[in-house]
Each structure stands twice: as C-alpha cells, then as structure tokens.
C-alpha cells in the first residue's frame, strides 16, 4: 500500500505548514510562464486557485460547464465562512477551529490537513475583505460574526444569507483580473469528459464544447480538479441541478483513488419536497438555527395549526436531547433527529415529512427588524417557494442531500495518487472527515485555492521546468478522445424509451432510501442489486434525442447519469464496508442504546480509498490509517 503515503511533513502540528512552506521547492518567475496548469471548475476553489496561480505567473486554463464562471454552485452557499480571527474575544483560536472540525468530522479526517485549513482561514477573510466582499459589519465599521452548528464560539463571517454569493463573486473578480491580464484563459460551456495521462502523469483533459458538441484536447503540466461534489447522485438535493461527479469519476477511472465515497452529508434544514415534479430542494441556511427553535407536536397526528399548539404540547426535541448544543448540534445529528421524529409519526405538514423551525420567540425578543436584518432574504425565499410567511408561522423543514465529504484521495500536497493531478475544494476528501461543519466549506475551498495549492503545486512544478509544452497530438490524447467519442455514441445510439432524467430520479430514490441518512446491511445490499438492475436498464432503454454535434442538454445529462450509476455502486460498497456509524454515515447496526452513532475506532480508524481495477472487477480498498497525535479520539457528544 505504498501508494497511500499522505506525505505529511514532520514536526509538531502547529509547525508543519510553516516548515513545509519554508522547504517547498520553488519555480522562478521566468520558468512559471512556460508552465501550463489546467483548472476544472470555477467555484470558490477553482476560481481562487486559477487566479492565485495566474498571479504567480503560470499559464492557466480554466474550464466550467456554465456560461460564466460566476455561476458555480458556491454561489448558493448561504450562511457563512469560518475564520479563527477571535474578533469576538470568545476564546477562539486555530486549535479550537481545528478541534471543532476534527470532532465535527467524527475523527475521520486527517489532522494535518484540518489544522492547515484552520490556519489559513484568517487569511481567507482578509483576502476576501480586500477583494470587496461586503461581510456584515457592526456600527463601528468592524467585521461581525455569528455562531454556527457544532461550535460554541462565534467565528462565522457572513453577508446576510448570501455569503457564498459574495465570496464567489470575490473570487470571480480576482479571476476576471487575471483573465484581463492574460495569465488565465477561460473556457466556459465546456465539460471535462476525460483525463489524459502521459507516462503516468496527468497531462491534459478532453472536453466537450457544449455549444458545438466538438471534442477538444487541452494539455498542461498539471491538472487541478475543482469540480465540486456529487450530492446530485440523490437526484433531489440542495445542489445545482447540473452539479455532477463526472470529472472526478473520470479521474478515478484513470487511476485516482476515491476516498470515503459514502460520506454524504444530509443537511437538516431544507424546504421539504412539495411534489413529484420537483427538480431540487432549497436549503434554508443553518444560520437560522441561531434563532429558530426546532420542534414537533408532542402528540402524534396533531392537526392543529402550529400557532395554536401551546408551549406545553411542543417537543423541542433537539433542546431536549442535546441540552449543551440545543438547536446548534452538527448537521448529521440534527438531520437524524428530525428523521427519527418523523419516522416515529410526529412529523408535520401534508406528507408528515417535516418539522417546525419556529422564530416566534426570537421575534418576540429581538423584534421583526433584527430578524429581518439577519435573515430577511431567507424568509423571503421561503415565502416565495411555499407561500407561507415565516414571520407569522413556523417554517417547515426537512433534511436533504447537500454536501459530499468523500472525494478524490489527496495527500498533504492536495495531489491525488496520479502525479500532477490535484483535487481541491469539495472534490477532494481531506478536511471534513465523516461530517462537515457549517461554514467550513467556503473556508476550505477558498483556503485550498488561494493559500494552499499555490504552494504545494510549486513542489511538483519545480520538476517540470525541463518538460516542454505538452503537444496535443500524442497518441494518449488520440486514445482518450476516441474513448470519449465512443461512449457518447454509445449513449445516443441506444435509442430506447426512457429519458436520462427518468433514470436519474429512480437512482436518486434508491440512494435516498437505502444509502441516505440511515443505512443497514440488508438495505445496502438491496440497493446494490437495484442499482445494478437499473444500470442495465439504463444502458438498454435510454433515449437521447438529437445529435452529438450540437448543443444537446440530454446527452450532457445522460453522460452524468451514466457516471452516477458507477459512482453509486462504489458509494454502496463503501457504506457496506464501513460497519460502524460515524458522522453522516449511520449504520443502524452500530448505535448506542439511546440511538446515538457508535464508532468502531479499533477497526475503522482509516480513510477508505478505493482503486478502480477495471469494468466488472471489484474495486480494491486501500486504507490510510488515521493517526491522531494532538487530539484524543473521543466519543462525539453534543449533550
């Protein structure tokens, strides 16, 4: 298992990153101009990486499937971004954020990476502020903070409920600056459909021009995947409907290990599904739990209007079960608690699959104005979708698929096991363990892009200066392009009867039912069978209209869904393999008598990194043992 060397630098945890930066190989400015880097994805990670690399003088090519880089799904992040500024004087520190993330991730993340993410968080805030991100301020003009799930300090910077939009536009603006300076070339409406390896190194990608349908070859000395997560494998999720796992999956098929694929976060507070046509679920930011109290009626089937249910008939179940953290328990805990109440028959709303999030007390105490200032746009969003005014009656919420902690396995350099292939942001697995804390995603993505990758990639690029620009007429490019073409032709020539969306919905339902918030051996095995059958049906009965050589949104969907089938198989395999409950991965067989998750540290204190061995051959498991040198591995309790 030599390939799983995480390359963690020596030294104490607090010194590792500094020492690493002091000893990393550098590339001189004249040489940087001769080196090409491809970045796939333009979210908070991709945009920030591309602009930072452009500033350094590398030749950067950036790709996104949207019409503009600004539309990447980081734009939809709502609540905030963490940083260890300790502006509130409430005892925050790098160590505390590090510890909160390790604990929040249920001791399944790599210490050194998490510590580094916490370490650079302050710089991220400074940089965004300098870029003009209008974070909330107090009357003295200083930045202000709020508190988020799973922590006891206020370290979350925010811009109303649109923090992601503002950070995304910040990194997009730095990207724009580099585009105008000519260091970055933007390729929008392009989808990466394969990774090209030359002599075992990542040297390029094959993309499909989504307007003309043309397949294009792009070469570089290194490839950075910032292609986000695969939460849309559940079909209904809080993600953008086009978010997908294809880029990461294609890299996986070329040899990159996929780590902890079954760690998928189910967010506790989204608007419940209203009907069968629904194409996505809208998140209600976790920040609402600062002031919103979550409850269900104490009686089953209480049909009274929520405003008519008196205090004594309400069960504030989070406050009851977790008095220390109350409504601010981490996401996985909050989600399961909601599911538990609904499964037990206490759910509300037309489907019984919802709980109340109530602002009555907060409004009474702080007034409409304060609540509006903090959450105005979220309340409005809720009103627009449901037609219910949350100032007047409680919101109905339910968990939904949100974020995937799993992703491509990377070492401390953020490089996958394929030399020259990097994965940053949600596309990698590194920082969130088995559960991500709120407001830690923007932080990690931006940190990876602006402050970590530019250093770590230099270590690799220093050895590339003798490699001339990679020509795209190599046989490796020919083969990769041919394979992509064949697969697309195969998809379009099935000419069956069902649409890609039909299969996607069915797949999503299987995954949600058997591999969602709660999992068990029997269900997972059943899911594996169902996915296999559905996959067969997909490859025999799919219908994709129109042609390949034009804008064809159905072939785009078909390609993504086809990869989801394979990814779903791996996700289930991983969930079956991990016979313990940790973070978002809750195995029914492994719980305490009072229904809390029970880890098995003796057997599963490792990262499960899966290697693709070929079609119809089982994946091979590689284990990266997790060593905790600074923190003591404990039972995660929020009681």
């Amino acid at each position: 298992m030599a390939i799983l060397d995480a390359k963690i630098p020596e030294g104490s945890l607090a010194e590792k990153w500094t020492q690493y930066k002091n000893s990393v190989k550098l590339v001189n400015p004249a040489n940087k101009k001769k080196l090409d880097i491809i970045v796939v994805g333009t979210g908070a990670a991709g945009s920030s990486a591309a602009s930072a690399l452009g500033e350094l003088g590398y030749n950067v090519k950036v790709f996104c499937y949207q019409d503009s880089p600004r539309r990447a799904h980081a734009i939809a992040s709502q609540g905030g971004i963490n940083a260890t500024k300790n502006y509130q004087n409430d005892g925050d520190s790098v160590y505390r954020l590090f510890y909160d993330m390790i604990k929040g991730g249920d001791f399944r993340a790599r210490e050194a990476n998490v510590y580094r993410a916490a370490e650079v968080s302050s710089q991220v805030i400074d940089h965004y502020t300098a870029l003009g991100v209008p974070f909330a301020r107090d009357y003295g003009g200083s930045l202000t903070n709020r508190s988020f799930g799973g922590v006891q300090v206020s370290r979350t910077f925010y811009a109303k409920g649109q923090t992601g939009q503002q950070c995304m536009l910040g990194s997009y603006s730095s990207l724009n600056r580099q585009i105008s300076e000519g260091t970055v070339t933007m390729f929008s409406r392009r989808e990466m459909l394969d990774l090209v390896l030359v002599d075992g190194k990542a040297r390029g990608i094959i993309t499909r021009n989504l307007i003309t349908g043309e397949l294009e070859r792009h070469s570089a000395h290194a490839v950075v995947l910032a292609s986000g997560g695969y939460g849309t494998i559940y079909y209904l999720s809080t993600l953008a409907i086009q978010s997908n796992g294809t880029a990461a999956w294609k890299a996986h098929l070329k040899g990159a290990l996929f780590a902890n694929p079954s760690f998928a976060q189910i967010h506790p507070t989204s608007i419940p599904q209203l009907n069968e046509y629904q194409s996505k679920l809208t998140l209600m930011s976790e920040s609402l739990r600062n002031d919103g109290r979550i409850w269900v009626p104490k009686e089953k089937n209480d049909k009274r209007h929520p405003n008519d249910i008196p205090e004594e008939d309400r069960d504030y179940y989070l406050e009851r079960r977790y008095p220390a953290y109350g409504n601010l328990v981490p996401r996985d805990v909050g989600s399961r608690a909601a599911k538990e109440r609904c499964d037990a028959g206490y759910g509300v709303g037309p489907t019984g699959l919802a709980v109340y999030m109530d602002f009555r007390d907060a409004i009474k105490k702080q007034g409409d104005k304060t609540i509006e200032a903090n959450y105005g746009n979220l309340f409005q969003l809720y009103d627009t979708i449901t037609g219910i005014n949350p100032y007047k009656e409680p919101m109905q919420i339910y968990p939904s698929a949100h974020y995937t902690m799993g992703g491509l396995w990377v070492d401390y350099n953020l490089m996958t096991n394929i030399p020259g292939l990097y994965a940053i942001g949600e596309a990698n697995f590194a920082d969130h363990g088995a559960n991500r804390l709120g407001a830690a995603s923007l932080m990690q993505c931006s940190g990876d892009g602006y402050f970590i990758l530019p250093f770590t990639i230099s270590d690799y690029m220093a050895d590339q200066i003798k490699t001339p620009r990679i020509p795209v007429n190599l046989k490796e490019f020919d083969e990769a392009e041919e394979n992509v073409r064949k697969r697309l032709e195969k998809l379009i020539s099935i000419n069956g009867t069902q649409t890609p969306t039909f299969f996607h919905k069915k797949l999503g339902k299987i995954m949600w039912d058997y591999c969602g918030m709660v999992r068990n051996e029997e269900g997972l095995k059943k899911a594996a069978e169902l996915v296999k059958e559905l996959k067969h049906e997909f490859w025999t009965d799919l219908k994709v209209p129109d042609n390949l050589n034009e804008l064809n949104q159905e072939i785009e969907k078909a390609g993504r869904v086809s990869d989801f089938f394979d990814l779903a198989g791996l996700l289930i395999t991983d969930a079956l393999n991990r016979k313990e409950s940790c973070g978002a991965h809750f195995r029914e067989e492994s719980q305490t008598p009072d229904g809390e998750a029970q880890r098995n540290d003796d057997e599963y204190l490792y990262v499960a990194a899966w290697e693709f061995k070929g079609e119809k051959i089982p994946h091979q498991l590689h284990k990266e043992k997790l060593k905790f040198e600074e923190v003591e591995v404990q039972v995660r309790s929020y009681k």
Binding site: A130, Q165, F451
Partner: protein, 246 residues
C-alpha cells in the same frame, strides 16, 4: 391545469427561428415554471421531438443562469424573482404563455431560449475587480467600513448577472448591471484607489459591446430579480463624470 405555450424555437445561432405552439395539459400549479418545461421536455423526448433548450442551474434564484422572457416580461408576471422561482400558480388554467429568449444584440441566441451573455463577463474583465494579490491583504478589520456604506455596497453586490435588466430595457442597455458592480466597489474604501480607471474602462467596454443607452425608464429596476435600484445608475453617472472631468 392546461396551458398553451408559444415557445421560441431556434436550432442554432444562424437559424431563423420561430414560435412553436405546445398544448400542455399535465401542468400542476405546484410546479415551478422550469419544472413545467422539464415535464414538457420529457414528453417531447419520448415523442422523438427535440426538447426545448434553456439555461438553468441552481434553481433557487442565485446563480443567474436562467432567464426567460415570459408573456412580455423578464421572469414572468411576478416581481423580484428569477425564472426558476416563478411558480405555475402565477398562471390560470387555459392561459396562453409566450416564452422568448432575452433579446439584445450583445446577447445573441445560441439555441432556442439560450443566449450568449459572455458580454457581461467581458465588461467585468475590463475592471470589475479590486487589484489585490493573494497574500498581500491587511487584516480584515484594519479597513473599517461604515456600516451604512457596507450595507449599500451589499445591496449593489447582490446582482446575479442574469441579464434581465438588458432584456427588460427598451434600449437593451446594460447600465444597471454595470452600475451595480461599479457601485459595489466604489462604495467600499478598498475599491476607491482604482475607482476612476474602473468606471472608465467598464463604460468603454459596455459601449463597445453594443448595448443601448439608458433613458432612465426604470424597466430594469422594475424587473431586476434582486430589485437593484436606479440610484446605482445615478452613482455610475457621477463616478463616470468625476473620473472623466475632475
């Protein structure tokens, strides 16, 4: 419920394009407008027809991908929303609904209801940023920003770049879009050092791309999904004069 859809179909940028009528009966008032189009597309594919191409991604009104001109208004009959947030509750059984792409010279149609909005990106390349290198920023609290200005900057910065302002304007002017970005950065002390160059370059690029001119009509403000207002345009004018004259 049942609706009659008259949808602009255009095979590609060079094709002529025309309205095609679809009588669609399987509409539920709970659907969003785009979910209704999704459902129609499923039906079209099964009939071996070509589905209607339209942009959309986040489906929660923040990414700015979607944008349809519905019954003579960007994003349909309701105020302050993007197309993905429009519900079929806004229509009645039996309604005829015209669906057109954004129309403006700098936004050429790519296919059906999809237009090329890269002109917006180009305007931002011309100056929609603060030039600060990664790693060189001072501590976040070393730049104090009066809350009032910070809030105003936020109000301008919520633009989602969807192009509804251009689509709504009788002159296909991009002034509200440009004004929002110029205002956002001009209101913050961090943005002041290059404010003059920024506004000059962005306006020059906007003009070069062939957008129309502002006639202070206010259709942009009335149709902006994020309700960005005309004070931004006045601020843009002010910033421009002072940059040019003083």
């Amino acid at each position: 419920m049942k609706v009659r859809l008259k949808i602009w179909r255009q095979e590609n940028a060079k094709a002529k394009g025309a309205f095609v009528t679809y009588d669609f009966e399987e509409v539920s008032p709970e659907m969003s407008f785009l979910e209704m189009l999704d459902a129609l597309n499923q039906k079209l594919i099964k009939k071996s027809d070509s589905p209607i191409a339209f942009d959309s991604d986040c489906r929660e009104g923040i990414c700015g991908s979607c944008g349809l001109y519905i019954n003579g208004r960007p994003n349909g009959p309701e105020k302050g929303i993007s197309t993905c947030q429009l519900s079929m509750r806004a229509f009645k059984d039996g309604d005829t609904i015209y669906v057109e792409p954004w129309r403006a010279k700098p936004f050429p149609v790519i296919k059906d209801l999809i237009v090329d909005r890269s002109a917006f990106d180009k305007i931002l390349h011309a100056g929609g940023f603060i030039s600060v290198n990664t790693g060189s920023a001072p501590d976040g609290n070393s730049i104090l920003v009066p809350k009032e200005y910070s809030d105003l900057a936020f109000d301008s910065s919520v633009c989602i770049g969807c192009g509804a302002c251009v689509a709504a304007c009788k002159n296909a002017s991009a002034m509200l879009f440009v004004a929002a970005k110029v205002s956002h950065l001009a209101l913050l002390p961090q943005g002041r050092p290059e404010a003059r160059e920024r506004v000059k370059n962005m306006v020059m690029e906007m003009d070069r791309l062939g957008f129309g001119n502002c006639t202070n009509t206010g259709a942009c403000e009335a149709e902006c999904p994020k309700e960005i207002n005309l004070t931004n345009i006045a601020r843009l004018n002010r910033e421009y004069f002072t940059a040019k004259v003083l």
